[in-house]
Symmetry: D2
Subunit: 137 residues, 4 copies
């Protein structure tokens, strides 16, 4: 499953180079994850309501072409890999004409409880595991 | 003219109170202005391409009810007043069920050139003036 | 008591006008509050550890002169008023030479518990009340 | 040359996990770069005033231990490598007691003009090249 998330680049996201500041791309990845979990029938706010968090352990981002204010942005999100302790996502960011790849990236997350102690999602919440396994397919 | 702008509250926008941090509301107002200008047939990025800027001189915001992660947000934007030197916008922020007013606010802007020197928009760009006058009605 | 907080304007805080984006001023005010509470011998993180929050009910900001990347910024913070239910702060933002007032503003806060239910700080935590009353003088 | 940059983690930088949101680490790296350039006697705002930009081509970040609100943060910045077309920085983020490594990361940048066209910094601005070569040592 690859999920598309669409939004408009905000003025506040630009910097004095006249392009979207790079620190916004992790936030755009996150908007993609939010949409991905929703489409997997398990919204992230629902996962958090169960006391389960997904803090990042790693992220990386490569920038190909700058995004500009008012650009229509598309984030393509998919699961790269998952274990009972971790989950990794891949992202591609396009402009809305799909003719320009703006950036690619990935994030790695640990499944933890509210105190950020690692947990085994497969054992603790087998339903979440199954929904995500299906979405990863 | 009152323009609705819709988007999902982002995880990065929350703070450790578990609600959207107040500094995001000016950014949401700005997303409302972007949409307003588009609907007035004069996108803000097009105005800037003419060398005309709209820096803030004042903003205020009252917070009624907190926004939460994944809330569907609606910003209602309208022109409160305009002169040849200034423009003021009013905003109301609702959740998507329109049953909860989250915040209200306003922003005041000066029309300036790229060096932030004030200018007379009515004289300099009468077409922009007319489009906004119409949109203010 | 008026407390000075100093820091350098960040690149990420600029926008494509080449100035610090207005949404950062509430964050700078907040940095001023953090320092104010520390100087009042009651750090905000310690207040929160007691289960007491200070969500905003109102904020406003007037912009006199733009801040630029790498500017040395000074936020002057003081208590404007306080009751057992509310506290209000005033801010002035200067450049480091103190010859240019960049912005002024204020924030109003409610004292609440972790569920954002209002509380009476004077009754619940008389020590915090006394420290702040002293700092307000 | 390794340069230390110190500041206090801001409330606005936290998210609803109660930790600093990961999107702030690239901003903290950038604060480290700003300080690094200053210490190399060539402030970044001065480089930009010459019409030379340093947009990112890549960034990555590994998160070891969460930063919390009001934590005193130290960013250690050094040049990892440089060519006439590119420059790479390494970062380590510590808490102020230096007993906890919070995160490590790197950023890669291209030297470009104001239109984001690549340029040869060694040829165009040999003085900047020499200052950075010295700082990299």
């Amino acid at each position: 499953m690859v999920i598309d998330t669409c939004f408009t680049a905000r003025y506040a996201e630009t910097d004095q180079m006249g392009i979207v500041h790079h620190s916004n791309y992790p936030i755009w990845f996150e908007a993609g994850r939010t949409e991905f979990f929703r489409n997997a029938s398990i919204p992230n706010s629902q996962i958090e309501a169960m006391g389960i968090l997904l803090p990042l352990t790693h992220m990386d981002c490569s920038f190909m072409s700058p995004a500009k204010y008012e650009d229509e942005i598309i984030v393509k999100t998919r699961i790269r890999s998952m274990t009972c302790a971790r989950i990794e996502f891949d992202y591609q960011i396009f402009n809305s004409e799909y003719d320009r790849l703006l950036a690619t990236g990935s994030t790695s997350h640990a499944w933890t409880d509210k105190s950020l102690i690692p947990l085994n999602i497969k054992k603790l919440q087998p339903e979440i595991w199954l929904l995500l396994e299906k979405a990863a397919g």
